[in-house]
Symmetry: C2
Subunit: 224 residues, 2 copies
Amino acid sequence: MRKGQKTRTAILEQALSIASQLGLSGLTIGTLAERSGLSKSGLFAHFRSKEGLQLAVIQGVRQLYSDLVFQPAMQEPPGLPRLRAIVENWLEWTGTAKLPGGCILTAAAYEFDDCPGPVRELISQSLRELRKTLARAVRMAIDAGQLPAESDPEQLAFEICAIYAGAQLDTRLFGDPDARRRALLAFENLIDRAGSGNASAQSGTGLPLAYDGAASASAARPNG
Amino acid sequence: MRKGQKTRTAILEQALSIASQLGLSGLTIGTLAERSGLSKSGLFAHFRSKEGLQLAVIQGVRQLYSDLVFQPAMQEPPGLPRLRAIVENWLEWTGTAKLPGGCILTAAAYEFDDCPGPVRELISQSLRELRKTLARAVRMAIDAGQLPAESDPEQLAFEICAIYAGAQLDTRLFGDPDARRRALLAFENLIDRAGSGNASAQSGTGLPLAYDGAASASAARPNG
DNA sequence: CCTACCGATCGGTAGG
DNA sequence: CCTACCGATCGGTAGG
């Protein structure tokens, strides 16, 4: 690894930390220079512009999503277990990555959703890919007979993303320690409902703690 | 209405417009002065500080929520119809208010969720109240026998908020014209699932027309 | 990667 | 509500 690359990685680490607390606009060249022990022009040598820095931060988040959320989930068998692993890893990734604030990508989406330009495009593209990945995982669960054939993968992917966005506010704005549990419950309810009609009655016991939703959901599968 | 009040209202209207596109931090005293035809110090005479302006903007949004979302929904009978009216009005309020960007409160929540201070407190308090209002509407639906007694109002309120937050990204970041439909479908699925096995059959008619997702979901129920 | 510097804009104040 | 002004910081550049 070249020294330039090493420096760049160290800078990006600081940048991600700042961005998680203050957002992509609150991430300032001056502050970043101070925190990373470089001069401002040193940063420009690496990122060319503030926009370049913002794009690099988003790319960094994408890499972390891949490393902390999706790759580990690939260890699980395709279908519901893998989908559930994605959701669980996702709800934890900012903690795993030791980010002091919340999910950079989610915050950036709301920050830039009315600001045309390359940054918004990269955010949009990233979230679209995330949705596709979720929809693919749902489709595999359908193929495995763990979800009914009539399930709508895109709709479920939308609802899972919504749960994640909602959980972020409970966690970071309300400081609610139950946010994760609430989000997982919402997810299991979603899977349950997408499944057979009486799944909810059967899995009614299988929540929080346990949430052996996987077992109960598949057990509840009527025609499986 | 005093002239001072009238001026203040006119300024706030501009401020809300800017904040919906650029967020509470992107809302700048200089820009607002220009857009409202006043000098910067004129604004300070009204709001004392930028923070004061931000707080005033949030209060303005709360007022709009009350006028455009909750009050009209009170025309509907308590229970599911009123809850549904809240959700429908909510999904439309930025359009009704002619805001050029998305929901100021939602964006502000993600913008300030790691920034302690009075602004964050007011945002947090506003969203908590919103959640309580939704939970109350859910509870009335339970009392009316439209949702099962075991339904969890707080959990449902969380999931409804999540759907709204998710829909905002589909609308504004992806520019998806189906976002509203998707969100309403998610809401009906939620109510359906929370409801008894055949509640969906009863509420199946009460839907916007296009999306008969509720009906088909219940039709797909195997043991129903 | 640095020092030294740029114009523009930030939030805010003095004094009227 | 205005003009006139403040120090600080913004993103960015020249030249090395």
